[in-house]
Symmetry: C2
Subunit: 359 residues, 2 copies
Amino acid sequence: MHATLSGDVVRAGERARERFYDSSGYGHPVDAGALELAPVEAAHLLYRGDLDSVEGPDGTAMDFRAFLESAAVSEIAFLVYKDLRDRGFYLSPARAGWSDSSAARAAVDDPAVDFVVYPRGSGPWDDEVAYRVGVVSEREAVPAGDLGDLVLAVVDEESALTYLATEHREVSGTSEAELPTGVSGELLSDRLLLWDPPAAVYDRGFYGQPLDDRDGDVIQLSLLEAAFLARDGVLDVDGGAEAVVERGREVEGERFDRRLRVYADLRERGLVPKTGYKFGADFRTYADVESVDDLGHSELLIRVLDGGHTFSPRDLALDVRLAHGVRKEMVFALVDGDINSGGPDDDGIEWLSVTRLTP
Amino acid sequence: MHATLSGDVVRAGERARERFYDSSGYGHPVDAGALELAPVEAAHLLYRGDLDSVEGPDGTAMDFRAFLESAAVSEIAFLVYKDLRDRGFYLSPARAGWSDSSAARAAVDDPAVDFVVYPRGSGPWDDEVAYRVGVVSEREAVPAGDLGDLVLAVVDEESALTYLATEHREVSGTSEAELPTGVSGELLSDRLLLWDPPAAVYDRGFYGQPLDDRDGDVIQLSLLEAAFLARDGVLDVDGGAEAVVERGREVEGERFDRRLRVYADLRERGLVPKTGYKFGADFRTYADVESVDDLGHSELLIRVLDGGHTFSPRDLALDVRLAHGVRKEMVFALVDGDINSGGPDDDGIEWLSVTRLTP
């Protein structure tokens, strides 16, 4: 069977509709019983041998090889389309008119979505969408604002695929500790020492780290912990919270302010953030701390980023792989990101979870 | 017992020599039977209660707290010194005259070394060094040129320690494949397709990735693989190797040249580099490939960097932790780094291995 490329659409005749759309969900029917295919769909039909050739605007007949080498179809979109078909899915390009489902129609308005993938057994005639997929090459920068409710299909330089599911989520926990006020601390170059701390600071609040295992020993606080506790009235330090924040900016620049906002927000949401240094992240978090003697597994790894951040897929792969290996979930805290709510609870932080997906 | 701070040395009397040096390896003996201590050693003796106070230049007596808060001693150096002592090691500051051993004297000339650590049971009077340790805060940038034959003791913002062993190493393998010349390939936007490749290209050489599992199927080459094979005469492509390299520079900038040098060097050393994308690295490598049907575990993860690179300890921690989790060794390829050999085998690439260490 033959078809004709015109603009960004490949048109096939009546028999095509029955053979490709009705039975396998390729393309979308148009008036007069014809079928319109996106170039990536036509490429897949050529690859399978279901189409013999596609006629170009200049009248030449293109086989699979010529079509793939032409500018009509992106090779990485083809690789992803083929992989999802191999996995048993029907899918449509995110184009107006290509699918009846309301979920698919919504995806058309999101420029980051390339394909809408239906649940196995469903197709463009159903009203269900399993994944909204965006196709990127390993070398493309991906704006943080594009992510959330999107499966990123990354094609690496050797043409292998990885799927990353990105979702906005809420974070919350039940950790809270009543602490005394006026605990005295001493600022050193980039940490604070509490020489005579009440036990609850560490034991209940899980703030700081003891210098040693000896009872009643010195507690070392990070600058973030100290700034938070000083603002909260718990910590009493020369120069107040501002002196701690100033020191933080000296050693870390504006990143310190961003991290402090996320630290404070996590604490206020009932999570205990501790350093994620060993995992290459900003924080690991514990959702339900009652006492440090009974500490569970930390659930999240948090990386703090500016809302305008663009991800390199390789860095994303590294973070997500590591988190998976240590049984934690990777969550990016996007500060002053593309916040939608704007309501009274809007703290200017968007939480973006990224996990590996096997469709 | 008391001692006196003068410049960057703390002097203690005759009894100190017997008590601190002879029995525990603190300080170094000077004429007239006195003992000189580095401030960090004095801080540790104060912490243990073995020294009662150190007299400052202005005559005030400092206890542990006052001494640690003074400018005389770095708190992060103290944390590392204390941790190594807790682990049962004797160690000396890397200062001229502090140790008799030739290995320790060599460390004095390396500004990246802060402590020389003796094997357990040995001390400054022996001629053995277990570790040369450099102390850094999590927030410090570490020049690549400082690393190699150095254990980096990283103090994170919450005052916990991680040790990273850095070593220069050689890399080599036994992979080699006889390939035909003149294999024809077609350049797409950022990969190449071999439409009719000889089986050995993939099966023996482990170049590229088949588009499908079907026999005799299309092979997809990365731009790196293609540039290498085109230079080698195996691949025949419009515009030759230069056209592939040009495309690589378009999509990746000068990084492409650096990565191609490392790719070619690895191949010439008998390793098969494949993409390390899933591990967030440039390459994973196989040392002994005879056939893709009998592929072993890949041993190394390679990240390609400019020789003038400075590491953030957090990024290092991330790479090393991930490599450890997937049972591979993390190796940085420093291109045009601080190369010492300069001999005929000097390929301008320095291989730096970084692993976690529990002293």
